[in-house]
Symmetry: C2
Subunit: 181 residues, 2 copies
């Protein structure tokens, strides 16, 4: 089964988590066109539909984002672009003086089984830190607090609680069940 992404950090995490489940994932390093939608589910579903016209084997893609309550969900579905432009420093600046620091990471996975698309989601709640901390993970990990540590400070522990872990757990469990049928 292929995992399609151009993001190396994401592939590394996914294959590490897949190993817990004894599943081998092959990396198809490829950029694909994502639509501009306000919901991750829609982005993943439409992207998978487009890819399924080209790739005939089973594959899955994953799209994720950081959603900050006080910023109406910003950076949300455009997390990757916003990380590349204003980065963690930009988010901290926007959150300066704001007391409601609630935020969540959400991951949506779309799996193409050769016939149809199946959608799974995973979510983890936390808070926006007041400073950048830690060097693990990637993207917004150094400013996302989960139980007093940032995702970037948690090392492999992150992969036990993250949105990505949760969505993959749902997906792999479903996959094993449907293979046992």
């Amino acid at each position: 089964m292929y995992f399609i992404t151009s993001n190396e950090g994401k592939f590394r995490e996914v294959s590490r988590i897949a190993k817990y489940f004894g599943i081998e994932v092959e990396w198809l390093r490829m950029d694909y066109l994502e639509p501009q939608c306000s919901e991750l589910e829609e982005v993943a579903r439409i992207s998978a539909e487009i890819i399924s016209k080209k790739i005939k084997e089973n594959f899955f893609i994953e799209d994720s984002g950081l959603f900050i309550e006080a910023l109406k969900g910003f950076p949300g579905v455009y997390s990757s672009y916003i990380f590349k432009t204003i980065g963690n420093e930009g988010i901290l600046k926007l959150m300066d003086g704001i007391t409601n620091r609630r935020a969540y990471f959400k991951a949506v996975l779309a799996y193409w089984d050769g016939k149809e698309i199946h959608i799974f989601e995973g979510k983890v709640e936390g808070e926006i830190a007041t400073e950048i901390r830690g060097s693990g993970g990637f993207g917004f990990d150094p400013i996302f607090l989960y139980n007093k540590k940032t995702f970037a400070e948690m090392g492999d522990e992150k992969n036990e609680v993250s949105h990505r872990r949760r969505v993959l757990e749902k997906f792999f469990t479903w996959l094993q069940k449907s293979r046992d049928l």
Copy 2:
């Protein structure tokens, strides 16, 4: 000829500018799927291709964004989403303490003539103000300084110098020429 947009402020400006050129534009109020691309040109071209499979008459669409130099082009192609979430206040907060305030508005127009797509662009350079000023226009107009006034303070004057005026001027001039041929 149809102008396709779901944004009323944009339609109002376009039809006002079209009148200077004696051109009547009909509003087709419709949402369409835009791709996530790093360039406005690409967004407009791909969107027009998708729409042209459904709408058989001649039409044009316009996509624009505010590009701030010190923020690596942010909010750029995602200006509309970013305006809806962090707004003008968010941009001012991000620009706090930054001395390079150079920015530009860019508009890209894609015209489908029934056979192929033609792309036009218009740009206006200015600066990010240090406060919100004026009540005209829409979106980031109250923080975009052009010759000491913000776009929101300029009233109809804005339509003589804006990125939208410039792209429409190129488009309508080209259109009149190609009709005279």
